[in-house]
Amino acid sequence: MNVFDYVRPASVAEAVAAASEGDAAFLAGGTNLLDLMKAGASHPARLVDITRLPGLDDIEFAADGTIRIGALVKNSDLARDAAFLAAAPAVAEALLAGASPQLRNAATIGGNLMQRTRCAYFYDPHSACNRREAGAGCDARGGDTRNHAVLGWTDACIATHPSDLCVPLVALDAVVEIAGPGGTREVALEVFHALPGETSAAETALLPGELITAVRLPAEAATFAPNARYLKLRERTSYAFALVSAAAALRIEDGRILEARLALGGVAAKPWRARDAERLLAGAAPTPEAFRRAADAALDGAHPSGDNAEKIELAARVAARALALAAAGTPERMPALPGSVFAPAGVNANGGSVHG
């Protein structure tokens, strides 16, 4: 039976201690873990319920401009926080482009980083999956691969990371604050998620017992606020994972890009920071040609992991479009269809009703 211990620690220290032995998993919103347990894809021996830990659900704006988001802040609360929206609009847009209202009300920021791939072969306990069992093989290869990786994959694993939130976060140099048996430490989000190796073992930088306590955005993140967008390509307007997505943020002065940030979602086992693209854009004029060159650089080295070659071109176009949208300016109000191709573009965009 799925027999497991359930503990509800009163402090972060207790939580870390409870999760340090055996095969434990932290339970927050539960929007992914419970599904995985029901599907038989995850079998933790102990659930450490962290939902009532004190002090992890604040959004703090430090004097130096740093934003610290407690790990238990709900997706919906963060997205609708006015100060956060003003400072990090692309992050808010990504949050609202994700899941459904019900899920956003339950899901937490820390949990979002820890969600597992949506690869159907990972969920199916009868399929071989190196993520579930290192060395077992990968039945996604040769299977239905429309949603699979085109960057950073190996024969061991072609899965993608499904998060919307992580895409702008990684573009904006977010840092993950971690408490563990050895004390606290920090890891840049860019290196928090692991690409698959030969056998696809560790998925994140977390060591046994370690708990995400907060995600921090550096002060400079807000300097991109006037020109920051998230764009998510998908066939259903809501409650669908991205076929591909991109977060783009620009600092533009006197018709030149001072600094660019670009990350892609739905293309790799991690949110894919496109640093080569960013370098190409620094100092360039914000033109469609420059954006396309940058987008091509972002997809440099991409190759299909199955019947998904079109995804490479699509990802390049989504990246170029996200950059163009960012250059056009962050809308004054959140679009009615956040992150959508059909959201109005530009600073004067009308955030009217979904039925407009």
């Binding site: 239905d144 066939e235 669908a240 079109e310 039925h355």
Partner: protein
């Protein structure tokens, strides 16, 4: 449309309650959670059954760890082919024309992934789940056959439910020779799974040889008789209760293996047992829409008239039974052509057996036909609506019979006006919105037949002036409890608020099948006839009573309305029902009626609901994401009992068509045959944000032949036309014809 309709006896008229846009009578129960669905039943001593599913698509089960499952605390019984008691009917026997082979642990064979291979019965759902997991089956695996190219192709004796597989009308060769333009279109549609929000669920309880069942069911009388047949008891020993269905779509019209296994578990344990399918279990033993591969060859002459329609449809079915999506039949009755040739083949693959799924055949066939018609219009250089009107069928193309009624021309006009079709550029890629998105407009004709089944009803007028009508009709979200009550109230000549309407139980008169978009027509005619019968009896009493102001009017000389009988020739002379019954010393009068098609009309007329759907799509010119920004439909479907509910059905059908065009797709792994998107995160149906503007307009139609009340049907027609309209609009926006549904971004990418 006539304001009122006199029924044969003349005592009752339809049109006081019927025709009104009443809100749902059961709405409050549903929004407050008080409506009881099958799985809500928890009889004392209830056990829970969970069935283990096969992880392979073909082969046999070689081992089940029954000992481990039995040893799990709470597990009461484990049923496998080794200990399964005999059934009175062989699960592989097809008892009648509406029965299909089921999996009830008759042997260790596996015919598709998701097939039940054992049942664990336990004190709790959790224990049953764990018991099922502990069975840890092992298999002898044979390669799965998935897709049109890997299964055996065959010529089916019938398609759909007993329909002819082939039709030849006229000479196709002559038609092709007469054509100035030729269009060959190959269309592929995927497997669809019904996925009603309420999964299949059943609670079974035996009392000796009497069986009570709480189970959502669209065909109560047939199901009762079939369940009784499997367990060797008379049908009247089975009480089947189905007061509310959380969506059926055809899936809940067909008896399935898990239901029989639950009843069996109840008998083996001598306790009530509940079995509820998990969402992933909905992708296997409970039917689906088979995938199709269709080829249409159309010929068009210089005048823009069709010279030939050839439509070949190949549909997937299981390895062990036949349900062929009768897709090519969609070309029989819509467009005039001197030559029509339709043909079906089947292909056997390792899935469960398909079944009727909302507009079976009509949906996938219309999708292909309307796409081909659009391409033919393009070839002929004609506006696609003009092309359809040039090929308007004044009589049924397949049989030559007149239509019982057909207001399709008015639908075209009304729909085009409401949509604003005029001025549409012929060429694709001509329109943009202010944001620079490509805009396209497309059209598709809608057509759905008007079958009728057999139904019986009982109507009672009580001494206090209230009414009771009983019929085993089925409320499955479509609004039957409301629309049928409106008819019932008119049948008794009372206000609907004074009517008690009982439905959804096998203990009531047989309401027929809630399927084929024929439920309101079938049950409605029975109900109205029953009311009319009761009113005839009341009229006898009143007109023979010297104390009545109606005395001497003659039985045919009175009319029932508003709780009173009136003299037909002098409406000022009337008497309330209560007074008539009071004087007669009666506490009620009762009437009985039946509903079925007049066989002569069935011989003489072709009977269809008609309509048209216009779609506007927006497409990103680089990213090719599609948004259906507007859907406008206009439909003529005979007498509309409740315009609010009818529009709800029609717009629901149109949104279903949107899902068909852009979202729905059952994905099976090509190697193992396992469904790989068996949940709502993976199997996409439209959400509200996908359908920002969907409107259905009703076009009046007065049909004196389709049935006595002139009722056609609105349940499925909205799907037809919509799929093609959207695909055609996508072409008009992009210039790309996508021939494989759903239309994916990758297929449009240029």
């Amino acid at each position: 449309m006539a304001e009122t309709l006199e029924f044969p006896t003349g005592h009752v008229r339809l049109g006081s309650n019927a025709g009104q846009p009443l809100t749902r009578r059961d709405g409050m129960l549903k929004v407050t959670g008080a409506a009881t669905y099958a799985a809500d039943n928890r009889p004392a001593g209830l056990l829970h059954a969970v069935y283990a599913v096969s992880a392979i698509a073909r082969g046999r089960v070689t081992f089940l760890d029954v000992a481990a499952a039995k040893a799990h605390p709470g597990v009461v019984e484990v049923i496998t082919p080794a200990n399964r008691p005999p059934l009175a009917r062989n699960p592989d026997e097809k008892a009648h024309g509406f029965s299909w082979r089921i999996e009830a642990l008759q042997n260790d064979g596996v015919r598709y992934a998701g097939q039940p291979i054992a049942v664990v019965v336990a004190e709790t759902l959790e224990a049953a789940n764990e018991g099922a997991r502990l069975l840890a089956p092992r298999y002898e695996v044979e390669p799965a056959r998935i897709g049109h190219d890997r299964g055996e192709v065959f010529d089916p004796p019938v398609v759909g439910v007993g329909a002819e597989p082939n039709l030849t009308k006229g000479d196709a060769e002559v038609g092709h020779r007469a054509a100035a333009h030729h269009v060959d279109v190959d269309i592929e549609t995927p497997l669809h799974y019904h996925n009603a929000l309420e999964p299949h669920a059943i609670v079974a309880e035996w009392h000796g040889d009497r069986l009570t069942l709480d189970v959502p069911n669209q065909a109560i009388a047939i199901a009762r008789s079939d369940f009784a047949g499997f367990f060797g008891v008379p049908a009247e020993n089975v009480e089947l209760r189905s007061p509310f269905i959380g969506g059926g779509f055809g899936s809940k019209a067909i008896l399935n293996g898990p239901q029989v296994l639950c009843i069996l578990a109840a008998r083996m344990t001598n306790r009530p047992v509940k079995l509820v399918l998990r969402r992933d279990q909905m992708f296997g033993p409970v039917g689906h829409r088979g995938g199709t591969r269709q080829r249409l060859s159309l010929g068009v002459d210089e005048g823009g008239h069709l010279t030939v329609i050839e439509h070949h449809a190949q549909s997937t079915t299981s390895s062990f039974d036949d349900f062929l999506e009768p897709a090519a039949n969609a070309s029989h009755n819509l467009y005039a052509s001197p030559a029509i040739l339709t043909r079906h083949t089947g292909v056997r693959i390792d899935t469960g057996t398909p079944g009727p799924m909302r507009a079976p055949g009509e949906a996938s066939g219309s999708a292909a036909l309307e796409c081909a018609m659009d391409e033919a219009a393009e070839a002929a250089g004609l506006d696609p609506l003009e092309f359809r009107m040039r090929n308007y069928a004044e009589t049924d193309p397949a049989t030559g019979r007149p239509f019982s009624s057909k207001a399709l021309r008015q639908c075209y006009a009304e729909g085009a006006k409401q949509f604003g079709w005029a001025g549409r550029p012929l060429a694709p890629r001509q329109m943009r919105d202010e944001a620079g998105h490509l805009v396209g407009w497309g059209v598709g004709s809608s057509l759905f037949p008007n079958p009728m089944f057999q139904a019986e009803a009982r109507a009672v007028l009580r001494a206090d002036g209230t009414g009771l009508v009983e019929i085993s009709a089925v409320e499955m979200g479509q609004g039957a409890l409301t629309a049928l009550a409106q008819i019932a109230a008119d049948g008794l000549g009372i206000d609907v608020d004074k009517l008690e309407f009982r439905a959804g139980s096998s203990e009531l008169p047989d309401g027929g099948i809630a399927g084929g978009s024929g439920h309101t027509a079938t049950a409605g005619n029975a109900i109205f006839a029953a009311g009319s019968d009761a009113m005839g009896r009341l009229a006898d009493i009143a007109t023979q009573d010297p104390a009545s102001p109606l005395f001497g009017a003659g039985n045919a000389g009175v009319v029932a309305r508003g709780g009173r009988l009136h003299r037909a020739d002098d409406e000022s002379r009337s008497e309330p029902y209560t007074a008539i019954l009071d004087r007669a010393g009666l506490d009620h009068v009762e009437g009985h009626g039946s509903g079925a098609r007049n066989p002569a009309d069935a011989e003489d007329y072709a009977m269809f609901s008609h309509g048209v759907v216009f779609a506007e799509v927006k497409v990103d010119p680089e990213l090719y994401q599609v948004r259906v920004s507007r859907l406008v439909g206009a439909f003529a479907a005979g007498r509309i009992i409740n315009p609010r509910l009818a529009k709800s059905q029609l717009t629901g059908g149109m949104i279903w068509g949107l899902g068909f065009a852009l979202h729905e797709e059952g994905v099976h792994d090509p190697r193992t045959g396992r469904p790989m998107n068996a949940d709502f995160a993976g199997y996409h149906v439209p959400v509200n944000a996908d359908a920002p503007s969907v409107e259905a307009f009703l076009v009046e139609e007065d049909d004196r032949h389709v049935n006595a009340l002139g009722i056609k049907g609105v349940g499925e027609i909205g799907i037809t036309g919509s799929v093609g309209a959207i695909a055609n609009a996508v072409w008009h926006a992009t210039g790309v014809r996508v021939h494989r549904f759903p239309i994916h971004i990758e297929a449009l990418l240029r």
